[in-house]
């Protein structure tokens, strides 16, 4: 897997293990076709009918590309997981400026909060109505 110690060992692996415990389907380095070529989503999680794209970042540099990959993969949600709260605030500011109305729901978490969210599995029961309609449109 690409990435360093923080990216792979501290962020991606704990999240993957946590999702697996809840019975989700987890794919590491999920390939995505983009206009400019191919990319890979760090963690692709599918539980029931909810699709999650999870990107681990240690800086604000690649946020734009993460949003594009998540949209291209038709993810319902994009989680950008960062090591610290401070970085989370910086990424949030960047994401707010770049947010698209028709893109996936973007959430920025520090690692601790992301792990906490995984444990609160009620968000996995159903997806928002807007996402349901979009999915129906795609399927037809």
């Amino acid at each position: 897997m690409r990435g360093g110690f923080v990216h792979n060992v501290l962020i991606v692996e704990p999240l993957a293990c946590s999702f697996l415990k809840h019975g989700a389907t987890v794919i590491r380095e999920y390939p995505v076709r983009l206009d400019s070529g191919y990319g890979a989503i760090d963690l692709w999680v599918k539980i029931r009918d909810v699709r999650l794209a999870i990107e681990a970042e240690c800086s604000v540099d690649r946020i734009d590309r993460d949003c594009v990959k998540a949209a291209a993969a038709y993810a319902h949600e994009l989680w950008i997981v960062v090591p610290t709260h401070r970085l989370a605030r910086a990424v949030t500011r960047r994401v707010t400026r770049k947010r698209r109305a028709d893109g996936p729901l973007i959430s920025v978490f520090p690692l601790a909060k992301a792990l906490q969210r995984v444990s609160q599995y009620d968000f996995l029961l159903s997806r928002p109505d807007s996402q349901n309609e979009k999915q129906k449109t795609m399927e037809t």
Binding site: F5, V6, V9, L10, P83, T84, H85, L111, A112, K113
Partner: protein, 551 residues
């Protein structure tokens, strides 16, 4: 002849004869006449003039008279009147030489000047650099003038410490070797008895007493002493404790032979022992010099001319009063008669009396303390006036000498012209000559004596973790970090079972040395971050090496 001249003629004549004023042809003729009772005005006037002139010269010369040493195989230097001073060193009347001079007094220049003259005249020579490499620069000079001189660094020697000289009975050699080892390893006096017994037993078990030439090694001595658990505890413990560093330092490469190089008394060799510890030097000296001395004495050589010169620069470790009896010091009264001439250069007067008594040629240069002047003044028989003049008279290159054999036995002053050597010899240079391919009988040495890898030299880029010598707690720390990725660093104090402060110090040290990297990570929901440690490749390699070593 007037009566007053007749009265004082005897005193004048005695003075003239005592100071050698009648050595020429005319003087001898005058002396003959005087002895026959024929004394006229001419004889009186001539002898009286010589005496008066001499008295004037004495006043001009000061307390030190102009020496009349004109013959000998070595030129010591130049008198104040620029006369060459020569003395006999190698002849039957020759003697050992001791030079005492403080740092910068010129003793090395004097020593080199003597060595350049004496070494070509002897069949064999051992020039030993004990501390500094003073004789090594002479090697190119000797070779340029056709004198074949070898240069052997201490660690290039191949020694069989217990090798018995050819004409010596092993039973007789064992106690002398035991005494020499007591001095070489700074053992208590009682240890020589234990060593004596062990050596005899080893000679018997190796067949040396039956005539074989397969000798025990120092490692065999160590093992035999170690096995003698019923021996005197203090002696046994001292032997084991003092021998082990030398055996590890010199190792099987130098000491691990049943039979090794011959004693080399027919070669001219510069031994470069600079950089070796005191006990390493003593061990090598015992192995190289003691057999030569013992063999010559046992051969019955007596009153021989000097055909082997042994030179010790910075000889304080050998001549010191703190050395126990035995070894080289014990042989000095005997070796002059067997054709060995020893030369000692020291910086202080910490010289055992046996050396001052047996060195008939004593030379004193500029010293650093009044005590040094006092000791040498007493040994050379200086008058109080001469002793008082020494600190002001002696400058670098100027010496007071005393030759207690030969025609002139009064102290004298001389100077040595400064000689610079243009060539240098890099450290570690070896000229082994015929010893390079000398067949040796290598012994099987237990692997516990193999030199450890830590003794090999690496550049910083080549250093590995094992060579940095990680402590056990550091290895445990690294292992815990690898086993618990993402664990905040504060948790390791408990895992390691050390205090928080100690754990932090350990962490900081490992980070500074490149084994760990620190990362900030939020592990709680309240915005605070923790430090998480990442093991680097260096840490992974160190753990792998440690695990391999433990397997």
């Amino acid at each position: 002849m007037p009566r007053e001249h007749k009265d004082d003629f005897q005193d004048i004549f005695r003075y003239a004869r005592r100071h050698g004023l009648l050595e020429d042809d005319l003087g001898r003729a005058l002396a003959l006449n005087a002895q026959c009772g024929v004394v006229d005005e001419f004889i009186y006037a001539t002898i009286n003039k010589r005496v008066r002139d001499h008295e004037i010269r004495r006043i001009e010369d000061g307390p030190f008279e102009e020496p009349r040493l004109f013959q000998g195989d070595a030129l010591l230097g130049l008198s104040p009147r620029e006369n060459a001073i020569r003395t006999d060193i190698l002849g039957q009347g020759g003697s050992h030489v001791i030079v005492l001079s403080g740092s910068g007094g010129g003793k090395t220049v004097l020593f080199r000047a003597l060595a350049i003259q004496v070494v070509p005249q002897t069949r064999g020579a051992f020039l030993v650099d004990l501390v500094k490499r003073e004789f090594s620069p002479l090697v190119p000079h000797f070779r340029r003038v056709g004198i074949d001189v070898l240069l052997i660094p201490g660690r290039r020697l191949r020694i069989s410490l217990c090798q018995v000289p050819r004409s010596v009975d092993p039973i007789d050699y064992a106690p002398r070797l035991a005494d020499a080892l007591v001095q070489a390893f700074s053992l208590p006096p009682g240890a020589n008895r234990l060593l004596h017994v062990v050596l005899i037993e080893l000679y018997r078990s190796f067949g040396v007493l039956d005539g074989t030439r397969r000798y025990p090694t120092p490692f065999d001595i160590y093992a035999a002493v170690e096995a003698k658990t019923d021996a005197n505890h203090q002696s046994r413990r001292a032997i084991l404790d003092n021998m082990e560093p030398v055996l590890r330092s010199l190792g099987p490469e130098v000491l691990g032979y049943h039979e090794a190089w011959p004693n080399g008394e027919e070669d001219r060799i510069v031994y470069d022992f600079s950089g070796l510890s005191e006990h390493d030097r003593n061990c090598l000296l015992t192995a190289r010099i003691l057999p030569v001395f013992v063999e010559r004495v046992d051969r019955g050589v007596s009153n021989a001319s000097g055909d082997l010169s042994v030179w010790f620069d910075e000889a304080a470790p050998i001549v010191s009063t703190r050395n126990p009896d035995g070894g080289i010091a014990a042989t000095i009264p005997y070796v002059r008669g067997v054709g060995i001439r020893q030369f000692f250069a020291v910086q202080t007067a910490d010289v055992a009396p046996i050396f001052l008594s047996n060195c008939a040629i004593k030379i004193c240069g500029r010293c650093g303390s009044a005590r040094d002047y006092d000791v040498m003044a007493g040994a050379m028989g200086l008058t109080s006036e001469q002793r008082q003049l020494m600190p002001n008279l002696l400058q670098p290159g100027t010496f007071v000498g005393h030759v207690s054999q030969g025609p002139w036995r009064s102290p004298f002053v001389f100077r040595v012209p400064h000689v610079t050597l243009s060539e240098t010899v890099p450290a570690g240079t070896a000229v082994l000559g015929r010893y390079e391919h000398w067949p040796v009988l290598r012994a099987e040495i237990p692997s516990r004596w193999d030199p450890p890898s830590a003794f090999s030299v690496h550049t910083n880029e080549e250093r590995t973790d094992t060579q940095e010598g990680l402590q056990a707690i550091e290895l445990r720390f690294l292992a815990l970090i690898v086993e618990n990725p993402g664990t905040p660093s504060s948790a390791f104090a408990k895992l390691l079972k050390v205090g928080n402060r100690r754990a932090k110090a350990l962490r900081d040290d490992m980070v500074a040395r490149g084994y760990l990297r620190e990362h900030q990570l939020s592990t709680g929901s309240r915005g605070r971050t923790a430090i998480v440690l990442e093991p680097t490749q260096k840490a992974t390699d160190a753990l792998a090496v440690a695990n391999d070593g433990g397997d």
